[in-house]
């Protein structure tokens, strides 16, 4: 495949360095002090790089680990008996994927890279041992899972009570604030997902998403060209979304 490389690619380093990771204030390390960070590093494995569209795991993969996004973006989805897919979340760097799978022997969802993505792997067995030893880390895990429940409930309300415009405004604002927390622009950014994914996640048809985007554009709320988006009038968008003080997904 790679004719230019005379040797096999170097084996992936087993140990990731949370110390030097710029996400340590967002990711799991935020819950452990300097001395315990090494214990966490001992169990983390630097995962490989996934290209756009590659599966990280699916519902037939036996559950072994949770994954932190290091760079890129991930979507998770579940599939119903009749084959319909429902996207359950979009995950940005520093966010933990797989918390919904900590019961049962297989992953409860499918995780797919939305763009070129690198991840860190936390084997749950070791993670559970570690959280037993480190109460702060255990507490943080409870918090993370609790937040994921909350966000899912927010999404439920969004789907249950809000119009197409409100849903899309809420998603744009959620992405905006999450990018901002990562020291990226919350005004101008590149959507990690396709229109189709947005539609699926928000319980809409693609056509509706497309129409709302153009409507927002005509109203001067956003400027969108493909996946590139610029939020021109955030207060107005907040007015449209009416609620969702917290974000709509992790």
């Amino acid at each position: 495949m790679s004719k230019t490389l005379p040797f096999r690619q170097a084996p992936i380093p087993l140990k990731a360095s949370c110390h030097t990771c710029s996400l340590s204030k967002l990711c799991l390390p935020l819950a452990v002090n300097e001395t315990d960070l090494e214990s966490l590093e001992d169990i983390v494995q630097q995962g490989r790089i996934y290209n756009r569209g590659e599966h990280i795991f699916d519902q037939s993969t036996s559950f072994r680990s949770c994954f932190a996004v290091r760079s890129g973006a991930v979507k998770t989805s579940i599939v119903s008996e009749d084959g319909e897919e429902q996207i359950t979340g979009f995950f940005l760097p520093g966010e933990l994927v797989g918390l919904d799978s900590m019961s049962g022997d297989f992953y409860a969802c499918t995780a797919k890279a939305l763009e070129r993505t690198s991840i860190c792997e936390f084997p749950v067995q070791k993670l559970e041992e570690l959280t037993s030893r480190l109460p702060d880390l255990q507490h943080h895990m409870y918090q993370l899972m609790s937040q994921e429940i909350q966000h899912s409930h927010q999404l439920t309300m969004l789907l249950s009570k809000n119009t197409a415009e409100e849903r899309i405004a809420a998603l744009l604002l959620s992405l905006s604030s999450r990018f901002q927390r990562r020291r990226l622009s919350g005004i101008r950014f590149s959507l990690p997902m396709a229109r189709n994914d947005i539609a699926n996640f928000l319980g809409l048809a693609v056509e509706t998403v497309s129409r709302v985007f153009t409507r927002f554009q005509n109203q001067g709320l956003i400027r969108a060209r493909g996946r590139e988006v610029e939020l021109l009038d955030i207060p107005a968008l907040q007015g449209v979304s009416r609620e969702l003080s917290r974000q709509v997904c992790p």
Copy 2:
């Protein structure tokens, strides 16, 4: 208030007895062995009885405990900025309320008794200390929270992809199997919640719920009189709901 009682009501016993509780195979005790059960009993408090409509906590209550339903039923709901309510779950005996609140200083939702209900209280601080000591209990907590995330995702899919009939069939089947697991009839039972609650939970109008109930009745799928329901043709209901191998809420 209670003129007939010569003395104040006896103080509520601080310690609940999981040993003698018929729900111990459903509730938290299922995760601990005989010897550790006492540690769990040490932290559990027998809560008081709530009448229909009484609040157990709301979003302005500072978070202190999770609650297990002992008898009766509980609904949880969140309220958006503009005052709209969204019911996020119905909880039956043996189920744990408050897992969504384990981050932040206040409860993330409001919990209200749907009928005369008794509960057991687990102060989270003590619970976290205990789960640190008992890996099996910690593991079980992760499982419970993970399941709650899964169920919420299932609900998301239901709201996003399914018709009114499918949603209602799914809810009836979920209740049925949950009653059955509690050794109650899964065929004939009393709905703990009003039509309004069903509508709110499933993202429908009350009128729609009512119409679907009568339609199901005319098709011979169910017999319903007020809150009393009899499932006459479960396979047909499963056909209607098409999916939801797992239940739609805890």
